[in-house]
């Protein structure tokens, strides 16, 4: 999963991979260290799951942009993640176009509010 997303992002030429993590705790630690623009996060991970990791990351930086990666059967978990503050999600099996579309949207962020 991780290497697939990594390849898709790399091949797009738009994104650089600054770091990787193998579980939720590592994800939080690496985030604090690297402060990436976007984090892609599996929901189910050992030690600390993706939802909890997302919460902690957002506590550290409310502006962090987390994109969840999930399987088809995990809708309730994805909803929980979004409610927790994840910006968007990708569903397996995914196509490179879909992944890039989601990433581009998250990268661009919302239009600035006036005033």
């Amino acid at each position: 999963m991780r290497s697939m997303i990594k390849d898709i992002l790399k091949n797009s030429g738009k994104y650089d991979i600054v770091g990787e993590a193998t579980n939720g705790q590592e994800a939080v630690d690496r985030f604090k260290e690297l402060l990436p623009d976007i984090i892609t996060m599996d929901i189910v991970m050992p030690i600390k799951d993706g939802i909890e990791a997302t919460r902690e990351i957002l506590q550290h930086d409310p502006k962090a942009r987390v994109v969840m990666c999930s399987a088809l059967g995990q809708e309730p978990l994805v909803i929980e993640s979004i409610a927790a503050g994840a910006k968007d999600f990708i569903v397996k099996p995914f196509t490179p176009e879909k992944v890039i579309q989601v990433m581009d949207h998250v990268a661009r962020g919302p239009i600035k509010r006036q005033g």
Partner: protein, 642 residues
């Protein structure tokens, strides 16, 4: 509310309802049907409701007892005989008299209590029933427009706008609920959200279907919002409707707040009044097109253009009603039919909030009801049969409404016995609708479509419910006359699905401009099958008509200028471009001098006395002000006796 302002409207509508009821009562004697009862109930109920809000007690009471009478008749407690009809018509006459008195004096003069009592005498237990009935909501095909929103106190200091945002998630989206939530979050980033439907809780509980709506107070413009939301993954439709066009004014004095921004009331207007507005704006658009040509580079010109387009779009929306306005009584119809036929049937409707033009909805009423009947009567099996086939005892009719570009697709699917294409093929051959040889070249869909040909009925025992083979052909004709199409799919023993595809508005349609003998005509694109070139060498002459025999069957050839002039073509040029239409299974290639261009045209109906000219369904006006007639293809078929 000032009742006097609405008096004219009230009087006029009441008269319309009385008229509807008179016609329905008379038909009741000949052929009682549930749609007839629905019309009667709806009309009586509307009158009752309107009279109540106008505080016109006599009419309210009569409307009430008329409803009771209809209920008695429908339930079979009261037989439709000469006496009953006399009472009913007497009631309608009395209503007519009273509304006339009300119109001129604002009150009633004629006594009415005698009538009410006479009805009570024959419909004694009605009081009990109407307790339950009061709970029931009756659909009412009215045009409802949000009135200017009232606003008090506010927190937003910048000029802000209020929009209704409607969003549709793609049918193919994985995890639609999560997708919806992302959308909600994105909307929240744009302003203040309220009246979210479904709510976050509902979405989280997995209750999201495919559509989402909410109100949004924001300082972004509609176009900006639209663009922003369309950029979201798996969102197929975004409609941003300005709720209050006047908010562009910066608030004066104390900063306004939005404590109660959603106090929405409605005003009721005649459809005709909206049409007049739309028509006026259409004229403006034509003038604007001319202006663009005269002053193409003037900055004000393009601003005017944009503004007119916006107003036009908004005005078209005033004519829109959700499908719900039509489907409100479907459940009742299906239930009643099930009862009548000793079957168990239910209906599930998806996409009832999809909006479409009121005139199209009106036209869809009969075909829809016919197809529902068809589903219950011919499709769904008896409960015993269903159990034997290991199906749920209760049959389901599923109605899906889907918006696709400028069209609306309505699917009506029953999980009943399905259609036997082989059987249909045999019957069609036996009835002489097709030959054995023709049938061999037909695919399954073409075979299934044979059931929509007039004179086709596979049922030996004609049932009271679905009539006798007249019907599906009428359904098809109606849909085609709307510029739509009908398709049928089926799996034997599993399901039958009718798919109606209709335009969502009739006011603007894509059309093709053609020219013949130096004159221009427009043909709605929806009526055209395809474009071809006809060569003289391929033609055969038979009984005064030219025909060719391409692989797809017989193709009749007509030269448009001769048809319109009523002259007979004796000769044919070497080669002519043509457009092919199909109507009642006959294909005709209409030859013209030139196929000019395809464009969106505004339909303008012909007023009297021009509407007496057949062959034209209306006119359109092009940018430079030329008036181009729109061909009425069905009339042309008739003209040439096909």
């Amino acid at each position: 509310m000032d009742p006097a302002r609405y008096r004219t409207l009230f009087v006029q509508e009441t008269r319309e309802h009385i008229q509807t009821m008179s016609e329905a009562v008379l038909r009741l004697i000949r052929e009682p049907s549930s749609s007839l009862y629905d019309n009667l109930f709806r009309a009586a109920h509307s009158i009752k409701g309107m009279a109540a809000s106008m505080s016109f007690q006599p009419l309210k009471e009569i409307g009430h007892v008329m409803e009771d009478l209809f209920e008695e008749i429908r339930s079979g407690a009261l037989v439709v005989n000469h006496q009953t009809v006399k009472t009913l018509l007497g009631g309608l006459d009395l209503m007519e008299t009273l509304i006339g008195e009300f119109e001129h004096t604002g009150k009633s003069i004629s006594p009415y209590s005698e009538f009410v009592e006479s009805v009570r005498a024959i419909a004694p237990d009605a009081r009990l029933r109407d307790q339950q009935k009061a709970e029931e909501k009756r659909p009412n095909l009215e045009l409802i427009i949000p009135e200017r929103l009232q606003r008090t106190n506010a927190t937003l200091q910048e000029p802000s706008f209020l929009f209704r945002v409607d969003l549709e998630v793609s049918q193919s989206a994985p995890l639609p609920g999560a997708r919806a939530l992302v959308a909600v979050k994105s909307i929240e980033d744009l302003g203040r959200i309220s009246r979210l439907s479904p709510t976050i809780e509902e979405i989280a509980a997995g209750k999201f279907q495919s559509q989402l709506s909410c109100y949004l107070v924001t300082n972004h413009g509609a176009a900006e919002l639209n663009e922003e939301l369309m950029a979201l993954t798996d969102i197929v439709r975004v409609v941003v409707t300005p709720i209050d066009p006047y908010t562009r004014q910066a608030p004066a004095g104390a900063p306004p707040t939005f404590k109660n921004p959603m106090r929405r009331t409605t005003v009721r207007v005649e459809t005709r009044a909206v049409d007049v507005v739309v028509e006026g704006i259409s004229e403006l658009m034509i003038l604007n097109a001319q202006l663009q040509e005269t002053l193409p580079d003037h900055p004000e010109t393009s601003r005017i253009g944009t503004l007119i387009q916006q107003i036009y779009d908004r005005a078209l929306h005033l004519r829109m009603l959700p499908f719900e306005a039509l489907s409100g009584n479907f459940a009742r119809i299906v239930y009643d039919l099930g009862q009548q036929l000793q079957k168990k049937a239910q209906i599930v409707i998806h996409g009832a909030d999809i909006q479409m033009d009121k005139s199209i909805l009106d036209e869809l009423a009969d075909p829809m009801i016919h197809l529902l009947r068809n589903g219950v009567d011919h499709g769904i099996e008896s409960p015993a049969d269903r159990v034997r086939r290991e199906k749920a005892e209760t049959g389901t009719i599923r109605v899906d409404v889907i918006r696709q570009g400028d069209r609306v697709i309505i699917q009506i699917q029953d999980d009943g016995r399905g259609l036997d294409s082989e059987f249909i093929r045999k019957v069609a051959i036996k009835k002489g609708l097709i030959t054995e040889r023709q049938s061999a070249a037909m695919n399954v869909h073409e075979i299934l479509m044979l059931i929509t040909r007039s004179g086709f009925s596979t049922r030996s025992n004609v049932t009271e419910v679905s009539g006798r083979g007249i019907g599906l052909d009428a359904v098809r004709a109606r849909i085609e006359s709307l510029g739509g199409s009908l398709r049928i799919a089926s799996e034997l023993g599993q399901f039958t699905r009718f798919e109606l595809m209709v335009p969502f508005t009739l006011a603007i349609v894509p059309a093709v401009l053609v020219s013949t003998s130096g004159r221009q005509f427009a043909v709605p694109l929806s009526r055209i099958d395809r474009f071809v070139r006809i060569f003289k060498q391929d033609l055969h002459s038979t009984q005064g008509r030219f025909v060719t025999f391409p692989e797809t069957g017989t193709l009749y050839i007509e030269q448009l200028n001769h048809v319109l002039d009523g002259t007979n073509a004796t000769d044919f040029p070497e080669e002519m471009p043509a457009f092919i239409t199909e109507h009642q299974s006959r294909k005709i290639a209409w030859c013209v001098d030139e196929l000019l261009e395809q464009k969106q045209i505004l339909l303008k109906p012909l007023g009297e006395p021009l509407n007496l000219v057949s062959c034209y369904s209306g006119v359109t006006v092009l940018g430079k002000g030329e008036i181009v007639p729109i061909l009425d293809i069905e009339e042309l078929y008739r003209e040439r006796s096909y």
